[in-house]
Amino acid sequence: MKYILSLLIMLASTQVWSQSVEERLNILAEEVEMLKNKKSQSAVKLGGYGEIIYTNKRTELENNTKASHGTNPQADALRFVLYVGYDFDSKWSLFSEIEVEHADEIFFEQGGIKYSASEAFNWQTGVLLIPVGITNLYHEPTTFLSVSRTEIESKIIPTTWREVGTGIYGAFGKFNYELDLVTGLKANSFSSDGVRSGRQKASQAEARDLAWVARADYKAMSNFTLGISAYVGKAGGSATDVKHSIYDFHLMGEFGGVTVKGLYVLSKIDNTTALNNELNKTGSNGIGSELSGYYMDLGYNVLHGYKDWKLTPFVRYESYNTQEKVESGFTKDLSKERINTVVGINAKPTDKVVFKADYTIGKNKAKTGYDTWRLGVGWNF
């Protein structure tokens, strides 16, 4: 009896205590995996991007006269942006980007609350990036080839363009969409050179004049996207509010080592006569009633298929006019009709770090264009 009892005890206790080394190892592995998962499921997200550029504008103009360009050449810590996100739970989250521009200006570049119901339907409110064009949504320096952003996406689509608003976005199969209601631009800061100064940047923004913005992108293939966007609303002046609209068509493609990007934009501002009068703008200094332009980027990664590095010589052709049309009583400033041809090289040792160099041949109808060369380093994470 004693024997049987001892045997039973031994059997039972071996089951409990004699975990094999393999079992113990698996328990340890589970624990380590749990810790790793905790890290990847952390509610706090960190990211960011930045770019530092060197710009050297040539003093010889197209018409062989000389011009000075203020501080030139110039080295500028153009942008340093930190992204902080926080997941309150699986649906609700905070997003934010704090930007230091030119090393001494701080902006709240975007931020607010998101609700993720599904891939097809999400809601956001706060300081939103206006989903027009290419660069305003894809503005990290690693996402475009040249040192500086295109002039079109500075003067007609004023990147980085952000306003307070609310909207929905999501993806249906090959379509991505976004629809927002946002505060409009400030018309009394428009000029003959475009609408860039009209951004309110969510800083005590005048919220009387609002705008709708809609965007749809169609991924014809995984490596080729076609898209359109429309911004329709009002821009507020001191006394004169004007209707302001922007429509764009854009494409982005990558085929083998070839990168293609293109954009066409048309913008209309009505009642510019009253606005120009209010702002005492006369003659060729008036704000244009129609602004338009297009650009095309073409690059080829010469290391495609050989190395992890990307070395992409590229060319850009950009043509635009911030006074495509002016209302009667005003004349066009021919220097606003510009053509930029950019040639350069873009080197990426990894996808998140980029070194760039380019040369811009700047021409305009008034023959006062000048060339510029630039160097840049950028990153994002």
């Binding site: 089951q15 698996n26 995996e33 990847s40 990211g47 996100g85 992108d217 293939m221 995984s222 996207t225």
Partner: protein
């Protein structure tokens, strides 16, 4: 003495029932409950990498450093065996989790289980199908506007492939 026996048996029972109750949430994923997988019996195991293996795989996938421990789900389906990996990576600032399943050394299932980056950075579902049946991934198409998603996905596919190769080396 009887008391001691009862305690031992009770402890045994607790250990056994705990193991049964702890159902791995991964096995609740639709993939493991799909038609193809329903008849399979799946067991979780781990791949352990030595220092040298970590170095070799890091170099092969272009990563600075990788962990030395990976869970793998081995499924026994009729006469076939499948290995399935769930791997995480940061795309830009946020994580994606991929489920990559191998049979006969080939990828037979490729799925995004979790994608925390904005939806505009996600590739179309058709793109992920390009990984099926492949063991080299460099020629897989780019994704316009989502370079970092492609880079992260390729990295995880290469990692899964290397882990699967290690299993075969073990054989």
């Amino acid at each position: 003495m009887e008391l001691l026996i009862s305690f031992s048996l009770l402890a045994n029972l607790i250990v056994t029932s705990n193991a049964e109750d702890r159902i791995d949430p991964v096995l609740r994923l639709p993939f493991f409950n799909s038609k193809t997988m329903k008849s399979c019996s799946t067991k979780k195991d781990f791949r352990y990498l030595s220092k040298q293996e970590k170095k070799r795989i890091s170099d092969a996938i272009g990563a600075k450093e990788i962990p030395g421990l990976y869970p793998v789900y081995n499924s026994y389906c009729d006469k076939k065996t499948r290995s399935t990996y769930l791997l995480n990576d940061i795309v830009r600032s946020e994580y994606q989790t991929l489920l990559i399943s191998f049979q006969d050394d080939k990828i037979v299932h490729f799925e995004v289980v979790r994608f925390d980056e904005p939806v505009k950075y996600k590739a179309p579902s058709k793109w992920y199908k390009l990984f099926l049946g492949k063991d080299k991934f460099e020629t897989i198409d780019a994704i316009s506007g989502a370079t970092l998603t492609r880079a992260s996905t390729l990295k995880l596919a290469k990692l899964a492939h290397q882990l699967e190769k290690k299993k075969n080396e073990k054989k």
